[in-house]
């Protein structure tokens, strides 16, 4: 089986920043990374949940309901990180006209939207026993909700345009406009909130954190990162296989996978 052109190793000493911008090289690299990411997501996730749910002490004020932060906080972090990453790859795509960057950007969006949704959902589940209500028009909650709308708008625009290149470019432009607007939205929501609602509820968690809580949170964060990488790379590679179906490297990949199975 001739796999030499899929090889990811570069003989040059200089770093070639565009080495993996070729979908074939990116595919070869990520196919090796994806199983590792899934393994890390699973193992760290299980370890994090076991420590978080069984070993971390019960919170003095919030009882056991605080334990949802082991899902809530990592997903909220990921929702913001992924939006930034999405806009970053969108900008790279527009600047260098790199189709793999567009694909990455578009592959990030569903995972980002999922993380935003999980953050909102778990936040509501946590809010009911703690605040006594499912939803408050707090600055953070509102911004997170708007972030979900931005993700959905981005995905809808990409889906609505038939021409893949045009769709990728238009959606990328929207992602960049969105990322510029996110801090403006955040501050406007914050001002609006402070005047109308007053300091009834703050999002501040327990001031000092038990080390086992922190450990569980860190493990869960790693698990969420690994999951995001695995999901995004899988989606990117699937898009590459579909869109480049006429390319030689796809044929080689498909025939070799057929031969091995």
């Amino acid at each position: 089986m001739d796999n030499s052109h899929l090889s990811s190793s570069q003989p040059t000493k200089k770093i070639n920043w565009f080495a993996f911008s070729a979908p074939s090289r990116f595919y070869a690299l990520t196919q090796k990374v994806i199983p590792l990411c899934w393994f890390m997501a699973l193992s760290f996730g299980i370890a994090g949940l076991v420590i978080g749910l069984l070993y971390a002490p019960t919170d003095a004020t919030q009882g056991d309901s605080y334990r949802i932060i082991f899902i809530h906080v990592p997903s909220a972090w990921m929702s913001m990180v992924l939006y930034t990453a999405m806009a970053f790859w969108a900008a790279i795509g527009l600047i260098f006209n790199a189709r793999l960057a567009y694909r990455l950007s578009i592959s990030i969006a569903p995972t980002g939207a999922l993380m935003t949704f999980i953050a909102l959902w778990t936040g509501a589940l946590w809010g009911k026993p703690t605040w006594g209500t499912w939803w408050v028009w707090d600055a953070r909650l509102t911004t997170e909700l708007i972030l979900l709308f931005l993700y959905i708008g981005y995905i809808s625009l990409y889906q609505a345009i038939d021409d893949e290149r045009k769709a990728a470019k238009a959606a990328s432009l929207l992602a960049i406009i969105g990322v510029v607007n996110v801090p403006i939205i955040y501050f406007s929501v914050k001002w609006w909130n402070t005047l109308h609602q007053g300091a009834t509820i703050t999002m501040t968690k327990a001031p000092s954190m038990e080390s086992s809580m922190l450990l569980a949170l860190l493990l869960m964060t790693v698990a969420f990162w690994a999951y995001a990488f695995a999901a995004v790379f899988t989606r990117t590679n699937q898009t590459s296989l579909i869109e480049d179906h006429h390319a030689d490297w796809v044929k080689t990949v498909l025939t070799s996978s057929k031969a091995s199975s």
Binding site: S156, A160, L174, I184, V189, W191, H196
Partner: protein, 236 residues
């Protein structure tokens, strides 16, 4: 040297001719298609009037929700009309001609946004005090509401133009424009209603109007650039 400056003035004056004719044409079209232009205004008035019917006509409540209701309705009416901003010119091929013209596309887009604002934002602004009176708002709050709308409606046209450019030529662009543009317009809504809410309180309403003006300047500068980029992608 003389010839160079001569040619510069010549292009700038010919640019002005192009921009003036684009502006005149858009205004003319809006005046001809009365149902579209008036439709957005009647939609605005209708949506605002629906709220007392749905919520109840308690004067204190109405006075409290009035700025929010008028702002939200203005946002929706503006989204309704931005649908046609570039689509008609795209359908009959004029947009491609404009893209080929020596005049920068950004300036043409700016002119089209200006014409759009004159036909919707300006009329929304003129209509708003009548609706505000229906909600029993005081003269002072109506003044601040109108100042906010005067500064805020150009932002609606600019961001709406971006949405319109990005969804150019799509069959179901109406709902999509709203989905793209409305999340970006939330700061305008918040600052506009905050300014009205600040009238009775000890916070100066001018703080919010200043912030709104800053957003207005930003969107007037970046809106046409982003819209032109969107049009170039769509016509590529």
């Amino acid at each position: 040297m003389t010839t160079q400056s001569n040619s510069t003035t010549k292009t700038s004056s010919s640019n002005f001719v192009i921009l003036y004719s684009v502006f005149k044409r858009d205004i003319g079209l809006a005046l001809t298609r009365k149902t579209d232009t008036l439709g957005a205004i009647f939609f605005f008035a209708l949506v605002v009037s629906l709220f007392p019917l749905g919520i109840g006509s308690e004067p204190n409540l109405l006075r409290q929700i009035a700025p929010g209701v008028i702002w939200v309705s203005a946002l929706l009416a503006s989204m309704l009309s931005t649908n046609r901003l570039f689509n008609d010119d795209y359908q009959d091929g004029i947009l491609e001609q404009l893209l080929l013209s020596p005049c920068p596309l950004e300036l043409i887009v700016f002119t089209k946004i200006l014409a759009h604002w004159c036909c919707t934002g300006l009329i929304l602004l003129i209509t708003s005090p009548i609706l505000a009176i229906q909600f029993d708002m005081s003269t002072e709050t109506i003044e601040v509401l109108m100042m906010g709308l005067a500064i805020g409606t150009p932002i609606l046209s600019c961001i709406g133009a971006i949405g319109s450019a990005l969804t150019l030529g799509l069959k179901s662009s109406g709902a999509l424009i709203s989905l793209l543009a409305l999340p970006l317009l939330i700061p305008v809504l918040i600052l506009g209603t905050l300014a009205v809410g600040a009238v009775g309180s000890n916070v100066s309403f001018s703080v919010y109007l200043n912030l709104l003006a800053a957003l207005c300047v930003l969107s007037i500068f970046f809106g046409p650039i982003a819209s032109a980029a969107g049009l170039r992608i769509a016509l590529d």
